[in-house]
């Protein structure tokens, strides 16, 4: 397994897209910090960009890479090794590459310009998001034979999580605004990994506003160590479940 991991990673190091991804993130981050005089404000803008960009790129990259590697995967599958190890090694290699690119493109400049609790939260949650969408990408890729279809499904997943889910949530709030749905809203929002990451970062930025009215709910839920633990477990589940499902599908797949 580690051999597959090593060679996949070496292959990824030569991948133009992975390097381009790192450069794009670096460009966006440094650009934002240079445009905005106030570092905290730049960090807030960066949060919004990163929360939309990272899931999209991680998802699409994982899917495309899986198809590019398909022949190599088939070659590996005839070797005397478990299929589980192959897919796991590939998942780990792709997520390592994406994480390294992310740390280089975003982590480095963020810690140069605006180190602090917001930066830490941004890095940790975005790293978790990278893993989540890498796992989701794997799952989509192993289930579909057609590459275009897989990319389509990936894009749809991204749009759903970044936009549609929030709209549904807002619609839900409007339609049930006469009823006490307040306690339901936070757990519902936390079901979407992008929303969960955003809320965790927002707790650091918008604390003054969050402390008004419903602030108590947020503070109790996310601010406490228990809430942090729950959020962490939720994110880990979002990584584990798709990764496990992808492994399961791959081991039973007729390659």
């Amino acid at each position: 397994m580690w051999k597959v991991y090593k060679y996949t990673l070496l292959d990824l190091a030569r991948n133009r897209f992975a390097i381009g991804y790192a450069l794009l993130l670096l460009l966006v981050t440094v650009g934002l910090f240079m445009l905005e005089a106030d570092n905290t404000k730049a960090l807030i803008s960066l949060t919004q960009v990163v929360l939309a960009l990272i899931p999209l790129l991680a998802l699409v990259f994982t899917i495309i890479y899986f198809y590019n590697q398909y022949e190599f995967t088939v070659l590996l599958a005839v070797q005397p090794m478990r299929r589980q190890s192959i897919i796991r090694a590939q998942f780990m290699a792709v997520s390592t590459a994406l994480l390294l690119s992310f740390l280089f493109g975003v982590g480095l400049p963020v810690f140069a310009y605006a180190p602090g609790p917001i930066a830490w939260t941004l890095l940790l949650t975005s790293a978790a998001l990278t893993l989540v969408f890498c796992a989701l990408g794997m799952l989509i890729a192993v289930r579909q034979r057609d590459r275009a279809k897989a990319v389509g499904i990936g894009l749809a997943t991204w749009v759903f999580m970044v936009l549609v889910y929030d709209s549904l949530l807002l619609w839900l709030m409007f339609s049930f605004s006469d009823r006490p749905i307040e306690p339901v809203i936070v757990p519902l929002a936390a079901l979407d990994p992008i929303d969960l990451a955003r809320i965790l970062i927002m707790l650091k930025i918008d604390l003054a506003a969050l402390l008004g009215y419903t602030g108590a709910v947020y503070q109790q839920f996310f601010g406490s160590s228990g809430g942090m633990f729950v959020s962490l477990v939720a994110l880990l589940l979002w990584i584990q479940v798709p990764a496990w499902a992808a492994t399961r599908v791959f081991t039973r797949k007729d390659l």
Partner: protein, 452 residues
Amino acid sequence: MFRGALLLVLATCTGLVGASVCDVRPGHGSIRQALASTNGCDTIIIHGGTYNEGAITIDRAVVLLGQNWPVIDGGGAGEVLVVAAPHVTIQGLVVRGTLVSDMNDNAGIKCTSVSDVRIIGNRVESCFFGIYLSSVTRALVADNRVIGDSTADENRRANGIHLWKCSHVDVLRNTAEHHRDGIYLEFVTDSHVGNNTTAYNARYGLHFMFSHRDSYTHNLFHDNGAGVAVMFTHEVTMTDNRFEHNRGASSYGLLLKEINDAHIARNTFADNTVGVLMDGCNRATVSNNRFVANGWAVKLFANSTAAVFEGNSFSGNTFDMTTNGDLVLSTLRGNYWDRYRGYDLDRDGKGDVPHRPLSVFALVTERMPYAMVLSRSLMVNLLDQSERLVPTLTPATLQDTAPLLHPPQGPESRTIQRAELERGQRTAFPLSLCASLMALLSWWRFNGHSIH
């Protein structure tokens, strides 16, 4: 040194008018005796030590002058010092030991129905009420430190500096902490509250009602349970104050309710849940204030009319302005908004397109506070952008017709200049980063070629 000189001057003065100075030391006479003595004794010098004399009533014109911080301990019997005569000065004492009571407003220093009182440079420690003036005209309360019991429950605390039905009072350079309200005024007119610091009070830093024609300048109100709340008053002037770190569900930097003809200028509102809330305020002028990093910088309720916002600077707030109705009868002009995305073609420093500070999302959260969970999401951004292009939901009248492109001169602009100076150094980092990156890439390519 200073105290000695003052003493000398005082002694000379009193000497000139034929008055006398008495000394009270621990074990040598008591304050009560000195007050009761009939042979003049206009100035009583109280030397360092502890005096347990219960409640002391001052019923004649006298100067009580503490030396080396004498402690006047009421012993928890009720009040400590009660001023019941005009022309009394109390200076340099440490006052403690009031009785916490639900029936009486027991205070460390209490003045009732007198005039020309001066309470200067005292330390009032862990008292129920600190300094309490009732029906007093012409008084000076200055340089006192009124520190309550920080461990006490809110209902076991009372106000630090409490003024009731007074006029022409100056409250200057005091510190009031750990009380219920730091400074409390009711029916107090023609008075001035300046250069005070109130912090960590359970309820309000400053609280006044029905107190007309008063001015509040250069005060610092921070970390109070509910910030500052002022109500039912007209002709108030509030300038150069700082309202900071007042966070909580019902916490306000400055809550204005039924305030008419207020003049609010050059204040700083930073890191509050709500910077300013205006409820039923008419003809207020809010000018040259700074709103920094608040949850809601200004909540302007629709029942406020003819307010004018001019020359204010809004930056880093989650929401700059919200309102709760469709009709807004207030004027915004020439403010600086860090969210403004307009342009200035004629270069007069004012944007050519109006700025609409009220976002749709602010309206949504006004109706459904729990919608805050969607703050800063892509969906909300799109919503706000589309509303900015085609305004349909936000009140059309709430707009700044001439928004400033740069923040008005003030302490903030100085920091920005500094930031721009530092920017020169900051560009060095990305440049070197890019250079090293290019080097890395070229090395990579070179290696690749050499292998094949």
